[in-house]
């Protein structure tokens, strides 16, 4: 069912002319950065039309495992990429193209005066995390475990965007999101002490069933190139 | 003292204008007789308070219900009227007893009316299972057990078939007889109006075109409609297998099924006029004198006196060829199949 929906979505998105339509499934935290990369790549490769399919990494995994036609997969989670790789769906080896740090995000002006990770144990604050199974939730919990804080979240959001929305609206006093989200959103960031800081590795790979293997490899190479890395850095990603 | 006074005009949302002026004293029954679309139900709505009047006044005794102003308007629930609506409007989700006691906590009165109307054994019955006659009695009990200040019946018999109509009409006459306040009967059936009412107002196209006793309307119809519907000859008789005893004379009817006291209806058009005794031996033949000639343009009515008073209707051409005028002696005849009877 999920696969069917993806097929329909991708099919409808790539019906312009004789250009090669390169279908790139990317984690939603990459939305803005990959939007810019898409333009830059298409300028250099005018015969390729990059079609972005942006969603949570785990949802993208389900789509790919269900047989959705995808040329390149850029994941926010190493584990998820490994599952795709283990299924024999990756061409070559995945490359880590970016790192993303977990940070504390607070509404503008920090109305609840959150100072650090220990505040996540406070019952009197409204606190949000990502759901325990999505990458930003996994990383946030790893940081909490490392700091010995037993978190008292009021909501476990299904993805980092909806968590960010609630922080921006001032409904949550604090949440743990990626450094890139702090940069993109209307929130203030509080960096975690380096000993608790957890870093997400973003791997990407051309997929084995790609209809355009050369273009897929070219896209991966472009992201890893200095031009691609410069774009990612502007959005808060760290070069690996 | 506690009579109904209704002198008002109102314009319906569809532009129809109703204008009436009538008084019903306590104890009296007024029939508002008119064809469909004449404005009879609008009159019911105005008196009931389901619509407001534009000008004039509706009052019952000392209480004014509506004087055309928003301040003077008394809502329906405060008017305390007993109304039997057209189609009875029994609440379909309630049984007979629940319908009857809908507007009262006086269960003793409800019991009494259920008993007097002979529907005591129906009290638990869903109203969907009632016959037309039973439903009418339930509606009547529902209106009466609140001891209302006025009784208004909107087409109380028109939903019934001919056989139950006779029985129900008798019950209705009893109920009207006993009710002390003013009574209004809304009907399109002249027989009903003449049998049950003291005064008849003929309503046509929103206006009362004639008012008077049933006798006056019947004998002196002022409009073609009144002449047509209200001008029927009505006689009281005793029926016995087709023979009708009128006291001083007798008639024959084709209807041999009814015995006992009846109302005889003969339409004026069914009465034939002859200058000489008709040939053969039709049994319903009698001599009469022309008392009055009324010309309605395309037809002429002759009011005759003889053993019975009888109105006959013929074409102007027939009058001319027969050369008949007031004071002339004529022969009248009626076929037995044109003599209709209704048990009283």
């Amino acid at each position: 069912m999920l696969g069917l929906i993806t097929v329909l979505a991708v099919a409808s998105a790539c019906d312009n002319g004789s250009d090669q339509a390169l279908r790139v499934s990317a984690a939603s935290s990459l939305s803005e950065a990959f939007g810019e990369i898409e333009s830059a790549f298409e300028r250099e490769n005018p015969d390729v039309d990059v079609v972005l399919n942006l969603a949570g990494s785990s949802l993208l995994r389900e789509q790919i495992l269900s047989g959705a036609p995808v040329d390149v997969f850029a994941s926010a989670s190493r584990e998820i990429m490994e599952q795709i790789s283990d299924a024999g769906l990756v061409s070559g080896r995945p490359s880590v193209f970016a790192l993303n740090q977990i940070e504390i995000a607070v509404p503008p002006g920090n109305p609840a005066n959150v100072t650090g990770i220990s505040d996540f144990a406070r019952d009197d604050l409204f606190l949000g995390l990502c759901e325990a199974q999505v990458p930003c939730g996994i990383l946030a919990r790893a940081a909490l475990d490392a700091s010995g804080v037993v978190a008292a979240p009021d909501t476990n959001e299904p993805n980092v965007r909806s968590l960010l929305t609630k922080i921006e609206a001032g409904e949550l006093d604090a949440g743990m999101v990626y450094a890139t989200d702090v940069l993109a959103g209307e929130v203030e960031g509080i960096q975690l002490p380096t000993q608790y800081s957890t870093v997400a590795e973003y791997p990407m790979a051309a997929l084995a069933d790609s209809a355009h293997p050369a273009a897929a490899t070219a896209f991966v190479d472009f992201v890893l190139s200095s031009a691609g890395q410069a774009i990612l850095a502007r959005y808060g990603f760290i070069s690996p | 003292m506690t009579g109904l006074h209704a002198r008002f005009s109102l314009t319906r949302s569809d532009g129809f204008l109703l204008s009436v002026d009538l008084d019903v004293p306590a104890g009296a029954t007024l029939a508002l007789l008119g064809p469909n679309g004449a404005g009879k139900s609008t009159f019911v709505d105005a008196v009931a308070g389901l619509t407001s009047i534009e000008a004039g006044r509706i009052s019952l005794g000392e209480r004014t219900f509506d004087d055309g102003t928003p301040e003077g308007f008394v809502p329906p629930e405060a008017r305390h009227l007993g109304i039997v609506f057209q189609d009875y409007l029994l609440f379909p989700h309630l049984n007979v007893l629940e319908n009857v006691t809908f507007g009262t906590t006086n269960f003793a009165a409800a019991d009494q009316w259920l008993e007097e109307l002979g529907i005591d054994d129906l009290r638990e019955r869903p109203v969907a299972d009632l016959s037309g006659g039973e439903a009418q009695k339930v509606a009547l009990a529902r209106a009466l057990c609140r001891d209302p200040d006025l009784l208004m019946l909107d087409e109380p018999l028109s939903a019934l078939d001919a056989t139950s109509r006779v029985d129900v009409r008798r019950g209705l006459a009893d109920a009207l007889e006993r009710f002390q306040g003013p009574k209004v009967l809304i009907t399109h059936d002249p027989t009903e109006a003449f049998l049950l009412a003291d005064v008849v107002h003929v309503l046509e196209d929103g206006e009362v075109t004639q008012a008077g006793t049933p006798e006056q309307i019947r004998l002196r119809p002022r409009t073609p409609y009144a002449a047509d519907l209200a001008g029927a000859n009505l006689l009281h008789a005793e029926a016995d297998s087709g023979r009708l005893d009128l006291g001083s004379s007798a008639l024959v009817t084709a209807d041999t099924t009814v015995s006992g006291p009846v109302i005889v209806t003969i339409h004026p058009r069914a009465v034939s006029i002859h200058t000489h005794a008709p040939d053969g031996s039709p049994r319903n033949v009698w001599r009469a004198r022309v008392d009055r000639v009324e010309n309605y343009g395309d037809r002429v009515r002759l009011l005759t006196a003889g053993v019975v008073e009888m109105t006959a209707e013929v074409t102007p051409a027939a009058i001319e060829s027969l050369g008949i005028g007031v004071g002339d002696d004529v022969w009248l005849s009626v076929k037995a199949t044109e003599v209709h009877i209704d048990p009283v």
Binding site: M1, S58, T155, P158, E171 | E77, F85, L89, G103
Partner: protein, 259 residues
């Protein structure tokens, strides 16, 4: 039972039914029957089930209290801007629920234009609580009740209301004792639809109330979370929802709508 309808109508109807049945077959086929029982007995499912039950029934009750008078007004009163009000009532049907939920958050949240003063005055916070779940469910489901009841009110013979008034009943009494009982089949149908929509509500809930097991995580939210991690659990919870809904809808239909 012999059908008296033309064959093409029956054929199309079968296609329509298939559209409903096929996903159900898919769900049943992928259900992990061996672990089904233990999955359903888990805290996660039981918490979500209890929360869904309480929230959906509350949403129906609030919809009835607020929606029936609104339907009455729309059906019977003449006022300026009536068309606009009717359009506003339909809005939750048109707007994606997640947008509706975000709008609720901006209005009724702790920092919202109405929720802010409410919080200042009383300390009550609607999001991240069962109240948020109930409000979100009411927001998306009440239109079904208003539409159904308004249509029913327009269709009944109003002379019965006049008869009741002439028997001494005030407008409120007429509505309670005559109008409502006379529209009962439509009213029940509307309440059932409202409940069904409330039970299935997802988008507005997650956007407004958040997602926390035992607090705001209803069955659809539990399914959504499970879908990303544990497909078997997602399928099992979905099947519970389908079974619950079918039982209620079929049961109520036979019991209340047959008359």
């Amino acid at each position: 039972m012999r059908s008296s309808l033309p064959r093409w109508a029956v054929a199309i109807a079968i296609v329509a039914v298939a559209l409903f049945v096929i996903p159900l077959v898919g769900l049943i086929a992928t259900t992990p029957w061996a672990e089904f029982g233990s999955m359903l007995a888990s805290d996660l499912v039981l918490d979500a089930l209890a929360l869904s039950a309480v929230a959906s029934v509350s949403a129906v009750l609030i919809s009835a209290v607020l929606g029936i008078p609104l339907a009455w007004l729309l059906a019977r009163a003449e006022f300026r801007g009536k068309a606009l009000v009717r359009g506003l009532v339909l809005l939750p049907l048109v707007v994606p629920p997640i947008v509706g939920g975000a709008a609720l958050l901006f209005a009724l949240g702790r920092a919202g234009i109405i929720g802010g003063p409410l919080y200042e005055a009383t300390g009550i916070v609607l999001p991240f609580s069962i109240w948020g779940v109930i409000i979100a469910a009411t927001f998306v489901s009440m239109p079904f009740l208003v539409i159904t009841v308004e249509a029913a009110l327009r269709n009944i013979d109003r002379r019965y209301e006049g008869a009741a008034a002439s028997l001494g009943a005030t407008k409120s009494e007429v509505f309670r004792r005559v109008t409502l009982p006379m529209i009962r089949p439509s009213l029940v149908a509307g309440l059932v639809l409202t409940w069904a929509r409330a039970v299935g509500e997802f988008g507005a809930t997650i956007a407004f109330a958040g997602n926390l097991q035992g607090e705001t995580q209803t069955l659809p939210l539990a399914v959504f979370v499970a879908l990303e991690t544990d497909r078997d659990a997602a399928v099992a919870i979905s099947l519970v929802m389908v079974g619950l809904a079918l039982a209620v809808l079929v049961g109520l239909r036979d019991r209340w709508l047959a008359r």
